[in-house]
Symmetry: C2
Subunit: 222 residues, 2 copies
Amino acid sequence: MQKELGVVLLSGGMDSCVTAAVANKKCSLAFLHINYGQRTLKRELKAFNDIADFYKVRKRLVCDLKYFQKIGGSSLVDDRMEIPRAKSKDSEIPNTYVPFRNGHLLAVAVSWAEVIGAKKIFIGAVEEDSAGYPDCRKEFYRLFNKVIEVGTKPQTKIEIVTPLIGMCKSEIVKLGIEFKVPFELTWSCYKNNEKACGSCDSCMRRLRAFKEAGVEDPVEYA
Amino acid sequence: MQKELGVVLLSGGMDSCVTAAVANKKCSLAFLHINYGQRTLKRELKAFNDIADFYKVRKRLVCDLKYFQKIGGSSLVDDRMEIPRAKSKDSEIPNTYVPFRNGHLLAVAVSWAEVIGAKKIFIGAVEEDSAGYPDCRKEFYRLFNKVIEVGTKPQTKIEIVTPLIGMCKSEIVKLGIEFKVPFELTWSCYKNNEKACGSCDSCMRRLRAFKEAGVEDPVEYA
C-alpha cells in the first residue's frame, strides 16, 4: 500500500530536520521551504536542498514571502534592527519575533497540501519556545486544525502534526541521533551565512541542546 | 478621542468597498491589498488606490503573494485553466477557488495589524458564497479569531470583523447606496482589465445583485 503524502515545513534548522526524519517513517514526503526575507536566506535554502537530497525527496516547493520585509517589525527581516545576542529575560519576546509568522507558513502548507493531495503537514514547532514565539503553542496548532477543517473543501482532510511540540531541545537532539538525522547539513544561525555565529539566540539554544544531550554539534562555529 | 485603527482587506471589488465604508464609521483606516497573481491584478490595484484616495486613506500596503502561481490549482492564478462562465451547479466548487486563500489574506492582515497597532481587521466575506468558497464561512472567522488570540503577543488584541457575512448581494448593494459607496471605482470581473466581461461568475453575481436591488451598476460592461 502506498504511504499517504505529507508536507514537511523544512526551514533547514535542526528541529525541522528531525521532524522530517519522523515524517519519513510514516509518509511519503513533500518538502516546503519559505523565504520570508530572513538574512540567512541563501544558507537556509542550501540546507533545505541538502536535506531534501539526503531523504531523496523530489516534491519540493520554495515560496517567497518577501512581503514580510514590507510589514517589518522583526530584526530577522529588517536590516535596520540588530539581531540580539542571547536574550536577557526569558519572559521577553525577542525582536527576532516575526509577527504571526507560523500562521503564514501553515497557510502556504495548507494550500499546497490541498493541491497535491497531502493529508498531513509536519512542522517542528517546540512549545518550549512559546514564551518568545506565541505561534509555537500547542493550542495554536489545535485551533489551526479546526480552521483548516472549515476553511477547505469538504472532501479535504488535512491535519497539522507537531511531533516535537512537547520536547526540550536536548531531547530533540537525542531523537535526531536515534533517527540518524544529518545534523551536519542543518543550519540554525540567524545571523551568518558561512560559519554559525555561536552567539545569537538560535545558536545559543542549539549549542545548549547539543551540550545537554552530550553530543558534539557537527556544524562549524566562527 | 482618537478612533482605533482598523485594517481593511480591500480587493477593490464591491463587497470590500462596502466593508470599507462600514469600517470608516468606526475606525481610522489602513488599507491592505493582496496580489496573488490574479489575472486582473493591475485593474484591481487601480480600484484599490482609487478607493483609498476616495476615503483619504494614507496607510496603504500592497503585498505580493505571487507564490500562489507556483502552488496553482485555480483558474484565477493559472493561465492554463479557463475562467468558467457562471457556474453550472451551485453545489460545485468553481475552478476559480484558490485553496485556502482567505487564510493567507488574514495572516498578512494579522501581521500588519500587530506591527501598526490596529485592533480590527475588516474583511468583506459573504457566507452566501461559502458553497463555492469554504473560507467564507462565519465559522471560519470565529475560529481564526481564536487562532489570533493564542498566536500573537499577549498584549495584542486583534479581532476580525465581517460586517457583510450574513447579507445577500442585493442587501450589500443597498447598504452601499446608503453609505454613498463609490461603486463606480470598484472592480469585480475575474477576466478582463478594461471593460468587465459580464459573463464570469463574479460579474454575474454582481449584475444580479444590482438588478435585485433595483440600482444601476455604474461599471461599464463589454
